[in-house]
């Protein structure tokens, strides 16, 4: 591990090359570069998740922490090849002052040549990804609406801001649910006429489940709020022939019940963020099913036809603040 304090982008590039050379034949098969945008207190968590994900997808991890935008421009970097982060090679960069607004100038030279770039925000998702160059440069963008103060509103904003190649970890979290629900219709051809989802009011996964069922089955699912469960509690589908299929979460398991059959329990564990991230990195093209579900949930259509390349839109928080204060002054 090399630590560099108050350094430059060039020094980081050189240190990474030196560290790779001295570590010997490590990770010669890089599949992608993962840019993790995190806040200081979540750096360790992001590292742990990236380590799990890198085990399945050998990658270079660039962790970017931006803070103290008003201070002096400064870059600190830590380079880890092998060891603590498993098969990954990682650079943790802390950027302060105006430099934080130009993080891409440090990050772009560090991208592994000609392999896909994935950006992952392990913090509140940006309002508009086009404002963050670290999102514009990526082929795939992963957000986590659950980390926003109002997760459901954040998820709707993802639909408004959607471009092919975006996904949200709230979608990843319902893969196991979707597997169970879809499995119920592998052997019967029953037509579904209605659906009911029971979940807490602020649970974004329930909204995506609703969007998915709506877009796939053409039904209008009913969302019922509950305060008793911390997360999505149950999904129930009514069939035309009177049958009813219900999946209910109970701790780490799902109770699967169906009219005329014995109840059964299936595993439904809560996965660590690293596993979710690994699932995301498995596919680097756009997820159309997610786009349809997200569109159906937010009432937007044609998400899939939007251009997949974003153009960077410069937004300076200092200017915005100054504009706000002048308009305050004018108003006052």
């Amino acid at each position: 591990m090399i630590g560099l304090w108050d350094t430059t982008g060039n020094e980081v590039v050189k240190a990474l090359a030196a560290e790779r050379r001295s570590a010997g034949g490590v990770a010669s098969g890089l599949a992608l570069t993962l840019i993790a945008v995190v806040e200081e207190k979540k750096v360790r968590e992001a590292e742990a998740a990236a380590t799990i994900a890198a085990a399945a997808h050998p990658c270079r991890v660039l962790i970017v922490v931006r803070s103290d935008l008003d201070g002096r421009s400064r870059l600190d970097a830590e380079i880890v090849v092998g060891g603590r982060l498993g098969p990954a090679e990682a650079v943790v960069m802390r950027m302060y002052g105006r430099l934080a607004l130009h993080a891409e100038s440090v990050v772009i030279p560090l991208l592994a040549p000609d392999v896909p770039v994935v950006s992952w925000w392990h913090e509140e998702p940006p309002e508009s990804i086009a404002n963050d160059f670290l999102g514009v440069v990526a082929d795939r963008r992963i957000t986590d609406s659950a980390q926003a103060p109002d997760p459901v509103a954040a998820l709707r904003q993802r639909a408004a801001d959607y471009a092919p190649g975006d996904t949200d970890l709230t979608w990843t979290r319902i893969t196991l649910w979707r597997t169970l629900v879809a499995g119920a219709f592998d052997t019967t051809e029953a037509k579904v006429i209605g659906a009911r989802i029971v979940a807490p009011e602020k649970d974004p996964t329930a909204w995506l489940m609703l969007g998915w069922l709506k877009s796939r089955l053409g039904v209008e699912p009913v969302l019922e709020h509950t305060d008793r469960a911390p997360r999505m509690h149950s999904v129930e589908l009514q069939c035309e022939n009177g049958d009813c299929v219900r999946v209910t979460r109970e701790e780490g398991t799902a109770l699967f019940s169906r009219t005329g059959q014995e109840d059964r329990y299936m595993p439904l564990p809560k996965r660590p963020v690293g596993d979710e991230l690994a699932e995301e990195l498995r596919r680097l093209d756009a997820d159309q099913i997610y786009a349809e579900a997200l569109g159906a949930m937010a009432g937007l259509s044609g998400l899939d036809h939007r251009p997949s390349m974003r153009v960077h839109v410069w937004k300076d928080p200092a200017l915005a603040a100054r504009a706000a204060s002048t308009s305050d002054a004018l108003a006052g």
Binding site: S28, A55, A56, P87, A182, T187, R216, L217, P267, L268
Partner: protein
């Protein structure tokens, strides 16, 4: 109509079998404990089993239900690749049922049929049943007759599907293989017979197809114009272990050359299938197997060996003849090297050197494609003395990966060219969490995907390669080699005669 919740684009949703029952014959055996039961647990833990899934174990009567449960528990816990979760096991084992019995007792099989009917009824399983034959081939006729008699193998009567899984050995020569195939096909539909060659369940082996047919870089040089020779090696550091009776009757060629190595050879040598439909892939593999030619003089083009005492990896190893239950005058081989050819336009004149051995210096399975040397080298001969053949090596196990070996200038003021190896390796953790071969294959059986299973024609064709070799070897004595060596000296000489050498694997 199909399931509206599934589409081809939704690749997150895993393939999950229909509700079904898995019946394991010989459930208390070695294979079942080491591979099958852990594979079923891992599948359950990954959420890849359907809501209605039951396992019925059948084995000799000296086991009670409780004994079986503790045996299965210990086996699953020991062999599981995924983290151990007690609740998953509890639920899975509540769907496990043990039926003690013997293969020649009608009443025991009636009991089995009853148990199965009752379990299926309770779990909403519509007839779907897979039978796993984890038993010696000698017991096949008994079990097959019983299945026939009780109607357990009757598609029309039960509805759904019926599949049967058999393990190697697939016979002992062409004649016994044909007889065995006919026997199974009489009771089951030939398309429902799944022959497990666990090598085909390995990620790297499947990767051979991706490497060859997803890239444009390798295919143009994948022929006799550019390839000098191919070496396929399967080395084991262990001896024969506890398999003395079986091993001494068959030997290395029948044990692994007939199945694993010829399958690897077929995957490396086959033409591009028109699609990845199981039929198409098997058709291409079969064509290659049919085109295999044996050395004109088998005595000169093959070497058999048998290990002597020695040291392997810092431990003393006994010789083959001193192994328990091996007759002191045994002429069974523990090492085979043979020079095969493939008679078609792509491979004419390219030797395929195939070797397998026990008590080798280390455990390694790999396929090396050795390319011809450049037709002209504009260097001083002294500068390229250390330049060998370019090589593409597919490492099957351990350290799964691909190595490309080519010449490069040694840094310095002189133009000196030397071989370097570019090594692509899956991360250590990656290989651990990737599904075990059995897990993948058991899932494929339950789903009904036959791509990774050799069919009867392939098995029979492979015996047509082995039988003439065995006939020529009859009455000969294998060459001795010391444990911990790369086989007998005669094997090195066989390649030296053609101006080549074995790659040190």
């Amino acid at each position: 109509m199909g399931n509206p919740l599934r589409t081809a684009q939704d690749r997150r949703l895993p393939r999950i079998p229909e509700p079904c029952a898995l019946v394991i014959f010989g459930v208390t055996g070695d294979l079942s404990r080491k591979k099958l039961i852990p594979a079923v647990y891992d599948l359950a833990n990954r959420g890849l089993l359907p809501p209605g899934f039951v396992v019925v174990g059948f084995a000799r009567a000296d086991w009670g239900d409780g004994d079986f449960e503790s045996l299965a528990y210990a086996a699953a816990k020991k062999g599981a690749r995924t983290p151990w979760r007690e609740d998953v096991w509890q639920r899975l084992s509540s769907q496990f049922q043990f039926v003690p019995g013997s293969f020649d007792d009608d009443a025991d099989f009636d009991k089995l049929a009853e148990t199965l009917d009752e379990l299926r009824e309770r779990n909403g399983i519509q007839g779907n049943t897979a039978f796993y034959f984890s038993i010696p081939p000698a017991a096949f006729p008994l079990v097959l007759n019983q299945l026939n008699r009780t109607g357990l193998a009757d598609n029309a009567k039960l509805g759904g599907w019926r599949r049967v899984v058999v393990e190697k050995p697939f016979g002992n020569d062409l004649q016994t293989a044909v007889a065995l195939n006919q026997l199974v096909d009489d009771v089951f539909n030939p398309a429902d017979v799944y022959r497990i060659d666990h090598y085909l369940g390995k990620e790297t082996v499947q990767n051979i197809l991706a490497l060859r047919f997803a890239n444009s870089l390798f295919e143009p040089v994948w022929n006799s114009k550019y390839v000098d020779s191919v070496q396929i090696t399967m080395a084991e550091d262990v001896g024969i272990g506890t398999r003395a009776a079986f091993y001494d009757a068959s030997g290395a060629a029948r044990d692994v050359l007939q199945n694993h190595l010829l399958q690897l050879l077929a995957l490396v040598g086959m033409e591009e299938p028109t699609s990845f439909d199981p039929q198409e892939v098997r058709a291409e593999k079969l064509k290659v197997l049919k085109a295999i030619s044996l050395p004109a003089d088998i005595a000169a083009g093959s070497v058999r060996g048998q290990y002597l005492p020695g040291w392997v990896a810092g431990e003393r190893a006994v010789g083959y003849l001193e192994e328990k239950n091996i007759p002191p005058d045994s002429t069974t081989e523990t090492y085979v090297a043979v020079r095969l050819g493939i008679q078609n336009r792509r491979w004419a004149g390219v030797p395929f050197y195939v070797r397998v051995g026990k008590r080798m210096p280390r455990r390694v399975t790999e396929i090396a494609i050795l390319f011809k040397k450049a037709p002209h080298l504009p260097f001083d001969p002294a500068d390229v003395e250390m330049l060998g053949n370019n090589q593409l090596v597919i490492r099957v196990q351990p350290d799964e990966g691909v190595v490309l070996k080519f010449g490069s200038k040694v840094p310095g003021t002189a133009m000196e060219v030397r071989d370097i190896a570019m090594d692509f390796q899956y991360g250590e953790a990656f290989t651990e969490s990737s599904p075990e071969a059995y897990e993948r294959l058991v899932l494929d059986v339950l789903i009904g995907d036959r791509t990774l299973f050799p069919d009867a024609a392939e098995v029979e064709q492979s015996w047509r390669v082995i039988d003439p070799l065995e006939a020529a070897w009859a009455g000969t004595t294998p060459e001795p080699y010391r444990s911990g060596e790369w086989g007998p000296r005669a094997s090195d000489e066989m390649l030296e005669r053609e101006g080549r050498a074995w790659r040190r694997a």
